[in-house]
Amino acid sequence: MTELLESHELALTEPATIEKVSIVISKGSLEGIYPGLIMANGARMEGIEADVFFTFFGLDAIRKGRFEKIKVATVGNPGLHMPTLIGAIPGFSWLVTRMMKRQMEKIDIPPIPEFIELVGDSGARLYACKATVDMFDLTMEDFVSQVEEIISVGEFYEKAAGGQIIFT
């Protein structure tokens, strides 16, 4: 019992720290991509190692010609507190996206292309998911220069070893 108490006290004196995170970005909407990028950037700012794995529609965040056109999902998004039919009106997604981008600029959150560059320059490693790349018939040519390589799920787990995995 005393031993247990002592080891517990020891644990209390040295707070645990996170040394590495592996973040999965699996959605292609604006609100699906930003949280993962903010967490990756935030990790690097704390000196935490960060890998970002883009899969399924999350790949749009690193695709040339697409990553500057990411929109807020206005249909089937209860968080907007608007009837789904209104969300489906042509141009509505564009409008909501524009409003949200303006708000983000106000609090100094960069647009996605600039954010990808920032996260890449901060030393986070960006990877594309092989299964999705094969499914959509893509190659490295389709991705922005910050993307390091196309890797399988198995390779992702290998790289994630010893760290925390965050799925978004």
């Binding site: 903010i38 950037n41 700012m45 704390e46 000196g47 609090i107 100094d108 920032l118 901060s122 030393g123």
Partner: protein
């Protein structure tokens, strides 16, 4: 909150070692904090970032984001992380004698 000796000067710091009073800061204290945080010698490039952080905080009351640090300090993002591997904004703020940046970016 506690008082500690940095480069032989008693200064008040918070639990993470950030100075509580910006007026207790000087270049010797900055060198002392840098050494204690894994930067043996502050180069001109380090100073550029540290001074930018400090001046911006004293002017506006908030520390600049990593984004504006990269855009406006004169030191690009990649180099910022080479200079301050354990987090440029946080460490430059600490060395500059200002509070830990609160923003998420």
């Amino acid at each position: 909150m506690s008082t500690t000796l940095i480069a032989d000067a008693p200064v008040e710091v918070d639990a993470e070692g950030f100075l509580l009073r910006t007026d207790e800061w000087n270049e010797t204290v900055a060198q002392g904090i840098a050494r204690a945080n894994g930067i043996p010698e502050l180069t001109d490039r380090h100073w550029l970032v540290v001074r930018f952080m400090r001046e911006r905080f004293l002017e506006t009351g908030t520390a600049p984001s990593i984004r504006s640090l990269g855009k406006e300090s004169g030191v690009p993002i990649k180099e910022l992380y080479q200079l301050f591997p354990k987090g440029p904004a946080k460490l430059a703020a600490k060395i500059g004698g200002i509070p830990k940046p609160k923003g998420c970016i």
